[in-house]
């Protein structure tokens, strides 16, 4: 298996703007992401996820997710299950409010006191869920320092280009490849190429077959298109190797 990024937990918040409980889900998610567990969590952007964002969907296929929903409609949990996999854990704001006897929540833009309390409670519960999923039970729910980010791809200075990176930041590498005249996004392909290259595998029929099998683990490859995918993988791997050798 290719070496994929450090295990983190994806946080999917419903963020429903039309109801205060949606604001609670958003505020709680940001508390976890920015203060309680900044080094262990990433946000999964729900609109991008729904719109087909491969980075976000890929993350949720590889790593555990916690869905935070405002109400019983559970849009975040349902969307995650529909497009990637069942969330590892799920929390509903209205349940937390009822379970803790909090007063009515008001204010989508600026939460009232009950809303702020609810967001705090939800965030703490999500932090505990994150710890459980990462095997760190018993850890105190408190703010932690943000680790220095590892060197990553440089963000382009041009804001349009930078914004086009607006996925979850999951770290799962994806690569766009032309197959049968259309562009498909293949999850983990750069990591697979890197691993093949590092283990001394060079372009050739045998390597292409292995590439196809490894790529299939992470991506659906229709049987009728196997030959086209194999051709595309061979072509892209050839380019990858040439680039490596050129230094």
């Amino acid at each position: 298996m290719p070496l994929l990024p450090k295990k983190k937990v994806g946080i999917v918040a419903c963020s429903g703007e039309e109801m205060p409980e949606g604001a609670v889900s958003r505020v709680a998610a940001l508390q976890v992401l920015e203060r309680l567990r900044p080094n262990d969590t990433v946000t999964i952007c729900l609109p991008l996820f729904l719109a087909g964002g491969e980075g976000d969907r890929a993350f949720a296929r590889f790593y555990p997710t916690v869905a935070i929903d405002g109400c019983e409609k559970r849009c975040a949990a349902r969307a995650t299950e529909m497009y990637s996999g069942k969330p590892a854990a799920s929390i509903v704001v209205t349940d937390v409010v009822a379970g803790n006897g909090l007063g009515p929540i008001r204010g989508s833009r600026q939460l009232n006191e009950a809303g702020i309390q609810a967001a705090d409670l939800v965030a703490q519960e999500v932090a505990r869920l994150v710890d459980g999923l990462l095997g760190r039970t018993g850890r105190e729910v408190a703010e932690v320092a943000v680790a220095e980010p590892e060197a990553g791809p440089e963000v382009p200075e041009d804001e349009e280009a930078a914004i086009s990176l607006c996925s979850c930041g999951s770290g799962i590498p994806v690569q766009k490849v032309a197959v049968n005249g259309r562009v498909v996004t293949l999850i983990a392909l750069p990591a697979i190429f890197e691993q093949f290259y590092q283990t001394g595998k060079r372009p050739g029929d045998g390597t292409t077959r292995e590439l196809l099998e490894m790529t299939r683990i992470y991506n659906p490859i229709p049987s009728e298109e196997e030959a086209a995918y194999a051709e595309a993988l061979a072509r892209e791997y050839e380019k990858f190797c040439q680039k490596q050798e050129a230094g």
Partner: protein, 133 residues
């Protein structure tokens, strides 16, 4: 009485431009045109909530996207519903380069001003759409 206009913001929580889009939507719905607009959540629409879908279908819809991926606009359209007007934070920023937004949980003053400027544009569009209905 004139009909309401639906406003659908981007909903993203991880990036500054998403925060600006949401702030602009709230400014329209709560301050500038509270009686003329209603917010609708993208996730409910995409996941097929009948009530949300019926409401959006029955009113002109304005989308406010954070970036050029235009998730809000695309998803309203992919739900089979028309978008009457679409705005993006990126376009607003292009017109107001001095208002560089920063922050996610809370926007810097420039980001708040950018949201306000965008909200005012959206409010004008609300008025136009109401005139036509």
């Amino acid at each position: 009485m004139k009909g309401k206009v639906v406003v659908v913001p981007c909903s993203g929580i991880g990036k500054t431009f998403g925060t600006v889009s949401r702030e602009a939507a709230y400014t329209v719905a709560e301050e500038l045109r509270p009686d003329a607009t209603e917010l609708a959540a993208l996730s409910l629409l995409v996941l097929g909530d009948e009530e949300t879908r019926a409401f959006v279908a029955g009113h002109p819809t304005i989308t406010i996207d954070g970036c050029r991926l235009a998730c809000a606009t695309k998803m309203v359209q992919e739900s089979g519903l028309p978008v009457a007007r679409s705005f993006t934070v990126l376009d607003a920023f292009r017109k107001h380069r001095d208002l560089k937004p920063e922050g996610i949980s809370s926007l810097n003053p420039e980001g708040q001003r950018l949201a306000r400027v965008l909200a005012e544009e959206v409010a004008e569009a609300v008025d136009d759409l109401q005139e036509k209905t």
